[in-house]
């Protein structure tokens, strides 16, 4: 679009272009982020060669966040939480932040229910992955994607 072009921009086109610009902004500086390989390595360090089964782990995460500074996340693992069948650990991985792991939660039979709620920082739009290590040695997974309009970690620190 040139400056001499008359204002024939429809509202729809304008919004679409603003949206595209927004996406570019949220991509932010390259190089500072965890790579897919770093996430894979962090996953392997925690579950070894076990293959996660994609069921039984539910993530509740908003679809869109205006800022990534404090995004509510609830993760529930389906489990009776009995001595024979319970969740040992729950790992949260984030592929679009500088570091690939957000948290690990250690449960046991006494947790009663394998569910946590927290608030996380997201540097940009991304997929959040949760892996649950079960007492029988199996691993279950769940994931949720989120669109982050303004990522965390972008604000300047003023003053000293």
């Amino acid at each position: 679009m040139t400056l001499s072009q008359p204002l024939r921009l429809s509202r729809r086109t304008l919004l679409r272009q603003l949206g595209a610009a927004g996406v570019l902004v949220t991509l932010g500086p390259a190089g500072a982020w965890a790579t897919k390989e770093m996430v894979q390595q962090a996953v392997r360090e925690r579950i070894g060669t076990r293959e996660p089964q994609p069921n039984g782990v539910t993530l509740r995460l908003p679809k869109i966040a205006e800022t990534g500074n404090s995004v509510p996340l609830t993760v529930t693992v389906e489990s009776p939480m009995t001595p024979d069948d319970h969740v040992l650990r729950l790992h949260i991985f984030i592929e679009g932040n500088p570091e690939p792991v957000a948290a690990t939660y250690h449960f046991g039979v006494r947790a009663g229910k394998a569910e946590i709620s927290t608030r996380i920082r997201l540097a940009r739009s991304q997929t959040v992955l949760a892996l649950a290590e079960m007492s029988d040695g199996s691993v279950r997974s769940g994931a949720a994607s989120i669109l982050v309009t303004l990522g965390a970690c972008v604000e300047e620190v003023w003053g000293d």
Partner: protein
């Protein structure tokens, strides 16, 4: 030092699964931000949270910089007996923030 805030039911039936909500004022400085001079601000986060029930650990969390400032955490435990739940947060400077709550189990 800001007092941690914890909410648990004051009474519960034996075997009941109770929800525990916790909140601590803490900057959770990621270690990835720079000050106005371009110098990295050192990481200063809570890296470990534990909950013990009459001395037995029932829940623990390892945290990384992606946990938001003023960390909020809700989790569950089984009300086994009357007594005291202790909550501890440990940060990179070694500061331990702790609080306790009483529960009566009928």
């Amino acid at each position: 030092m800001a007092e941690p805030r914890v909410r648990i039911p004051s009474t519960a039936r034996q075997g009941e699964v109770i929800e525990i909500k916790t909140l601590l004022s803490h900057p959770m400085e990621t270690g990835h931000r720079r000050d106005v001079y371009g110098k990295l601000i050192p990481r200063q986060i809570i890296h470990t949270f534990t909950c013990t029930y009459n001395g037995t650990e029932v829940f623990r969390a390892d945290w990384y910089p992606a946990v938001a400032a003023n960390p909020y955490l809700a989790f569950f435990t089984v009300a086994t007996e009357s007594g005291r739940l202790r909550f501890e947060w440990i940060d990179d400077e070694g500061t331990v923030y702790a609080t306790e709550a009483e529960i009566t189990v009928a």
